[in-house]
């Protein structure tokens, strides 16, 4: 016990002496060589400690930043979601604007027709039939036989009507037939639906001049459709010497697969229409 006590007393004495010596020698510069040696030995160690602590400090900062970053990412994600929804809404508004502009063009081009806009809400469940269901009915003044058009041309006519909806037979339905004429030559015939093959104009006399590209309009004969509604354009003419009539293939002006809005002509009453 006394040996230990002596040792610690000695150590304390030496340290106190070193302190006193340093306090005396440091201002005079005599301690400089000692300081140089100490710093030279400690520098690498200091560098290592600093490097490790910098890493730890970086990780700690990252953890602190992580929470902030998470909040920021969440905000940005919400902003992106909101902008995406707004973008979709704006695109739909643009499409609707284009549709309404088409309808307006039809009204401006045909001011004598009183028409009512309607939206397509369904199609016939059978692929063998060509019908649309629109969201207007007897409550809106619709009746069976009324022609249905878009700004591009004739779509078909109403075959059934209910209080809030109506069924429209498209021109392409095999049961559809429209009295028509060729705009340039005034040749008359009947445009019949061919299902997915489109339209065919029949009963055009062989002597008539019909060319590819000719516009086909409703003739008004028979009283089932108004005159001068665009049906489509001639894409092929089949002449057969043994036949009495030409067979004219017609490309409809309307894209039936993409119709979303139509106009129902209310100011026209068909004559004796029987669906």
């Amino acid at each position: 016990m006394s040996v230990l006590r002596n040792r610690s007393l000695t150590l304390v004495s030496l340290l106190v002496a070193a302190l006193l010596a340093g306090m005396v020698l440091h201002p005079t510069g005599y301690l400089r060589p000692v300081e140089d040696a100490v710093f030279t030995m400690l520098a690498p160690l200091q560098y290592s400690f600093q490097w490790i602590s910098a890493r730890f400090a970086g990780w700690a900062q990252t953890l602190r930043d992580l929470r902030t970053l998470q909040a920021r990412v969440q905000n940005l994600e919400e902003t992106v979601d909101r902008l995406m929804i707004e973008n979709v809404r704006l695109r739909e508004a643009e499409i609707e604007r284009a549709n309404l502009r088409e309808q307006l063009q039809f009204k401006l081009a045909n001011p004598t027709y009183e028409s009512l806009g309607a939206e397509v809400i369904g199609h016939d469940p059978s692929n063998l039939l060509h019908y649309l269901i629109i969201d207007r009915g007897t409550n809106d003044g619709l009746a069976v036989g009324m022609p249905v058009v878009t700004a591009r041309g004739l779509v078909g006519r109403i075959t059934s009507v209910y209080p809030q909806s109506a069924r429209v037979m498209l021109l392409t339905d095999p049961a559809s037939s429209v009295n028509a004429l060729i705009q340039s030559s005034r040749a008359t015939g009947v445009v019949q639906g061919q299902g997915r093959r489109g339209l065919t104009m029949r009963f055009v006399e062989q002597s008539e001049q019909v060319e590819v590209g000719d516009i086909v309009l409703t003739s008004g004969l028979g009283g089932n459709f108004p005159k001068r509604l665009v049906i489509g354009q001639v894409t092929a003419v089949k002449r057969n010497d043994v036949e009495m009539f030409l067979e004219v293939e017609v490309q409809s002006a309307v894209h039936f697969d993409r119709i979303e809005m139509v106009q129902v002509i209310q100011s026209f009453t068909p004559i004796d229409y029987a669906p």
Binding site: I121, G122, H123, D124, P125, S126, N127, L128, L129, Y131, I133, T159, S160, R167, M169, D173, P174, A175, Q194, G195, R196, R197, D257
Partner: protein, 164 residues
């Protein structure tokens, strides 16, 4: 046995999908005959006796929405259900090829009978173009859609069978 109200709701949903939703996504301008696939699947899983009520209910909904002769869809679905619900098909119920074969055969039967009914009712029918440009492409499209439909109906079949 499945709850009749649930079955009615399901058939109504399928009819709405087929007429109002699927046409927007129709490849080649053709819509899958979803109601036919559901009826055929149910008939394969539970036989004709269970499939007939589905064919009648689903067919009536389609006929109400269709511009064709009333009853055309119902009769065509019923015949498809009777044929697909035969016990001979039941032997191959677990075969991976059964849905493909069944949908193709059912589509041909459904489309062919529908055309016959249209003709008998006085509507003009173009047999060649209708078969080549509608029925055959429908067979291909229905075959693609048949597998998810059959699996969904099989899930329903197992759920309702266990409940009893």
């Amino acid at each position: 046995m499945i709850n009749p109200y649930l079955a009615s709701l399901l058939l109504l949903t399928i009819a709405m999908l087929q007429t109002s939703a699927l046409p927007r996504f129709s490849p080649w301008g053709i819509v899958p005959d979803l109601m036919l696939l559901v009826v055929v699947s149910w008939s394969l899983l539970r036989g004709a006796r269970a499939g007939i009520p589905w064919a009648l209910g689903g067919g009536l909904m389609l006929d109400l929405l269709s511009g064709g002769p009333f009853g055309a869809a119902t009769i065509s679905l019923a015949l498809s259900s009777v044929i697909m619900g035969r016990e001979e098909f039941n032997l191959f119920r677990d075969s991976l090829w059964l849905p493909l074969f069944a949908s193709s055969l059912a589509t041909a039967i459904y489309g062919g009978l529908y055309l016959v009914i249209l003709r008998v009712s006085g509507r003009p029918v173009q047999w060649g173009p209708s078969l080549l440009q509608v029925v055959i492409p429908c067979m291909v499209l229905n075959a693609l859609v048949m597998y998810p439909t059959f699996w969904a109906m099989r899930w329903l079949h197992r759920r309702t069978l266990s409940v009893g």
